[in-house]
């Protein structure tokens, strides 16, 4: 948890500038999105909204007090606006990345970024920790293949939004987050669904990749019984 996802989720909320009382929207309820939701809560957000379409992940978001928004059933931007008196969230986190896709599986790399631009209020901030790449030969269209997305930059500028990007500097946060865990103030392990021996990595990757129900986070143990030579 402290090696990557908790600091990465926290970094998203840091770049988004989440402050006490804020209304924060998080796109993506994978491990990093759920850590961003936990981090926003720790930072005192008054309302945390999490957008995904996997029921198991949305349940985990709800388990820590977030509002779960299923984008396979509703327009997530409209729900965020409805939850914020039409103003939009104070800030938002992108925790999906370049393989963002519609619920039917059709990839659209700009999907979550543009939804964030639409979901965050004027002068708000966005922290994007989902992975984007300079080239993506397997991308779904010519722009995506070049590592580009059709960003609603006009609206981003018009609203005066701030955008922070990139991988997290883990060491900037990991001591403090460790001490939150040690102090009983944070429990990132709430997302762990499976603890398996290392030798079961191939099947675990398969389940996690398919978003099979209940495979929300896998911890592999090289020395666990059954993992022997």
């Amino acid at each position: 948890m402290l090696a990557d996802i908790f600091p990465t989720g926290y970094h998203a909320t840091e770049m988004a500038g989440v402050k006490p009382g804020d209304q924060t929207v998080i796109y993506g309820a994978g491990p990093v999105g759920l850590m961003a939701a936990l981090s926003a809560t720790i930072r005192g957000a008054g309302k945390v909204m999490v957008v995904d379409r996997q029921p198991d992940r949305l349940r985990l978001a709800e388990s820590i007090g977030a509002i779960a928004i299923d984008d396979s059933k509703v327009d997530p931007v409209q729900v965020v606006l409805d939850e914020t008196m039409g103003l939009g969230a104070d800030n938002g986190c992108e925790c999906v990345g370049y393989q963002a896709h519609e619920p039917d599986g059709q990839e659209q790399a700009s999907l979550t970024m543009n939804r964030l631009v639409a979901s965050v209020r004027f002068t708000g901030s966005i922290g994007a920790v989902g992975v984007y790449v300079p080239q993506d030969p397997g991308g779904s269209d010519d722009l995506a293949k070049q590592g580009k997305i059709a960003l609603d930059f006009g609206m981003l500028w018009f609203k005066g939004l701030h955008l922070g990007t990139g991988q997290a500097p883990v060491k900037k946060y990991n001591r403090q987050l460790r001490d939150l865990i040690a102090g009983g103030k944070a429990e990132p392990s709430f997302i762990v669904s499976h603890e398996l021996p290392l030798e079961q990595a191939p099947e675990a990757y398969d389940h996690f990749d398919k978003r099979d129900d209940g495979w929300t986070k896998v911890v592999l143990h090289p020395a666990m019984a059954g993992a022997g030579a």
Binding site: L2, A3, G166, P169, K171, R178, I181, Y205, F208
Partner: protein
């Protein structure tokens, strides 16, 4: 030691690989006891990056220090440590500004940024360890940091 090896899109296997070892005075050897599957692995797993076959996955590691180089004095054998996925020296221009995610010496290729560890039961590969965060059980107040050099190829 064992490692999770990328064989091609949606194919990984657990294989024996060369044991990690201390190569430099600032290296720390960690026996990994927990290693998580990360969502960012899936971009590589699905063949959507330039990650080469034969390389190892995994960068969310926790384990016990089993050996330290002569130049390491903060991390000791028996310490439990978490390994940040960023590979960083701790003393370059970016690291000194807390930007260990964009270390200039651990990743000297100017067109690349960042790097990650692999799944393996003695730490990832024969190169050295870096910047461990002390984690003795779940209640440590000691924070052991080793500023060590680390050689690695970039991942994404």
């Amino acid at each position: 030691m064992k490692a999770v090896v990328y064989e091609g899109p949606r194919q990984v296997s657990v294989k024996d690989v060369p044991d990690a070892r201390i190569e430099r005075p600032t290296d720390v050897l960690v026996r990994v006891t927990s290693a998580n599957i990360c969502g960012s692995d899936l971009h590589m797993y699905e063949g959507r990056t330039d990650f080469e076959t034969g390389r190892w996955f995994g960068h969310e590691n926790l384990g016990e220090v089993v050996e330290v180089g002569d130049g390491v004095d903060k991390v000791k054998v028996g310490d439990w440590v978490v390994l940040p996925f960023n590979i960083a020296c701790g003393h370059c221009k970016n690291c000194e500004r807390q930007l260990t995610n964009y270390c200039l010496t651990a990743q000297p290729e100017p067109q690349m940024a960042g790097a990650a560890f692999g799944f393996a039961d003695m730490g990832p590969g024969p190169a050295g360890r870096q910047s461990c965060c002390g984690c003795r059980g779940a209640t440590s107040t000691a924070c052991g940091w080793a500023r060590t050099r680390k050689r690695s190829r970039p991942t994404t």
